[in-house]
């Protein structure tokens, strides 16, 4: 399936590179043009997104053949049609502090994480607490591709084609009790392979209000670019909450607890005045040390304005009606 496309594309790829004027930022223009052109071409030819991604990175196809493909994937009306951030950027520019605090560290160090066997305990105020094996999770609900904007609290952003299904599908399986008001995510921590310095209070924990967790945008995420999650992106299972700053989307989850009280979260514990429980993307409420009004979309030269709720206001604004978002930041 892939070979004919690849052959058809390779000469184009080279031609584009040769013609690239050196005075234009390569990261700005070439990748976008190339990416869009190839993607259209591949989609037209009926090829998978994953193949497109593999070719985009310029790696030999074999280099990415090890990542297991996920599929078939349903398309979602909740997906963005914006230009996707290249696979290489998505997988080499990460905040996953357990594997190092520089952006390149997780890609270098997360290989040590054993993602199988893996189970996720779903417990707390639920009628049917139980553990889910990762293979079970992969089959729990139809996998969808969700192309979401990701806005980091550090004022950069990406557009990532995640793969997963709504978290609500998992939560419904365990029969949440009426007293469950919040969801706490507990993530994997293994000091043998992870950072031992107490930069944050390990294990990293995060939390959502119950209605946020049940919202159709909240994605239990198992893959990106049509493949299982790379370790540095939070393998084997994470959550993605696209209208909140990236750190709210906990990686490598081992337990999901339904609780009555607002759970403490890792960044909130580290700096309560800087990282609130809600941490909704909000251009009008600055981080105490920097502005949140604009962001740099990776691959773009100029900053762009940050959108309220990261552009998902239509879907989620109603969750916060009557709340002072300056106080509940």
């Amino acid at each position: 399936m892939r070979m004919p496309n690849e052959q058809a594309l390779t000469p184009r790829h080279q031609a584009m590179r040769i013609l690239r004027p050196s005075d234009i930022l390569p990261s700005e223009i070439t990748p976008r043009a190339l990416f869009e052109e190839r993607r259209r071409f591949l989609l037209g030819a009926g090829a998978t997104l994953a193949a497109g991604a593999a070719m985009w990175t310029g790696l030999p196809a074999d280099a990415r053949a090890t990542a297991a493909k996920l599929g078939p994937l349903a398309r979602s009306p909740l997906s963005s049609d914006e230009t996707q951030t290249p696979y290489k950027s998505v997988t080499t520019y990460n905040n996953y502090y357990e594997f190092g605090t520089d952006k390149e560290d997780p890609a270098a160090n997360a290989g040590k994480l054993a993602v199988r066997p893996w189970t996720v305990r779903v417990e707390g105020l639920v009628g049917k607490p139980r553990s889910f094996d990762i293979d079970e999770l992969l089959k729990l609900a139809p996998l969808e591709e969700r192309i979401y904007r990701l806005r980091c609290v550090e004022a950069w952003s990406m557009v990532i084609p995640w793969v997963g299904f709504p978290l609500s599908a998992l939560l419904k399986q365990v029969d949440p009790q009426g007293s469950a008001k919040y969801v706490e995510f507990v993530t994997h921590y293994d000091p043998k392979i992870m950072l031992r310095r107490p930069v944050l209070d390990w294990p990293y924990t995060e939390g959502l209000r119950m209605d946020e967790a049940m919202h159709p945008l909240t994605l239990l995420t198992l893959g990106l670019y049509g493949e299982v999650l790379p370790n540095q992106n939070g393998a084997p299972v994470r959550v993605v909450v696209p209208w909140k700053y990236g750190f709210k989307s906990a990686k490598s989850i081992v337990a999901i607890r339904l609780v009555e009280k607002e759970p403490r979260t890792a960044w909130n514990k580290a700096a309560p005045s800087e990282y609130g429980f809600y941490s909704n993307v909000n251009p009008n409420v600055d981080h105490p040390r920097w502005s949140q009004a604009t962001e740099r979309r990776l691959g773009e030269f100029r900053k762009r304005p940050t959108l309220m709720f990261n552009g998902y206001a239509e879907q989620v604004a109603s969750l916060y009606q009557g709340m002072d978002l300056r106080k509940s930041f």
Binding site: V199, A270, W290, R302
Partner: protein
């Protein structure tokens, strides 16, 4: 053993050092054109130029202690170039912010400088470096007089501290790196303080009259031996 290089040798050393000081910026330029600066090249350049400013500040501040400890007095002849390179990298750092990051958005820059403490501090450090760079020539030393020139240039200690604070305040949680730079700065400034104190004591001791022969001196503070 503490041989002073000849004028020709010193020139050769200076030329080599000049080239060496340009290596970091050359590597960044090369990586820019190779598209090898990672997913966020502007951030990589901002960080890189900031790191090298701090490193050159520390290297410059290390010249005097190194000279005293090794007796290689000619090292002092390299200090001006090193200091000017600190300014060079600071200028690149500022330009990156001004141009690539903010894209000449003066309103946003003014807002940042006033409202973001880490930028206020970083900008102050840069502003304080400017007079030092402008007076880094023999004419300025003659014009100002050695003493005034020296007291002006002592502001580099404050600049070093501001630079560390700037770095410390911008990191989100992991202060390990600013802490390492901070400890090096503390050692370099601490050595100076200690030497000053020794010198002060030596002078006091030298100016004190010798006790009368046969008189017993009662020390006010117990001497540790």
């Amino acid at each position: 053993m503490t041989k002073t290089p000849s004028a020709t040798q010193l020139t050769a050393i200076k030329v080599a050092l000049f080239a060496l000081c340009l290596v970091p910026v050359a590597l960044y330029v090369q990586r820019w054109f190779d598209d090898a600066l990672g997913a966020n090249p502007i951030e990589a350049i901002t960080r890189g130029s900031g790191d090298w400013t701090l490193r050159f500040l520390l290297i410059t501040l290390a010249v005097t202690p190194l000279r005293k400890l090794t007796g290689l007095n000619w090292l002092l002849r390299l200090r001006r170039m090193l200091g000017l390179f600190a300014f060079f990298y600071a200028s690149l750092h500022f330009t990156t912010y001004f141009w690539l990051d903010q894209f000449f958005d003066l309103q946003s820059i003014a807002h940042d400088i006033m409202k973001r403490p880490f930028i206020t501090v970083g900008f102050s450090a840069f502003a304080l470096l400017i007079p030092l760079a402008l007076t880094s020539n023999n004419y300025a030393i003659r014009r100002l007089g050695g003493r005034r020139w020296q007291s002006l240039h002592r502001s580099v200690y404050a600049i070093g501290i501001l630079a560390i604070v700037h770095y410390w305040w911008l990191v989100k949680a992991d202060v390990l790196e600013p802490m390492i730079y901070g400890l090096i700065l503390a050692a370099l400034l601490g050595l100076r303080g200690w030497w000053r104190e020794q010198e002060r004591r030596r002078q006091i001791a030298a100016s004190m009259p010798h006790p009368m022969p046969g008189a017993k001196v009662i020390p006010l503070v117990a001497k540790s031996r």
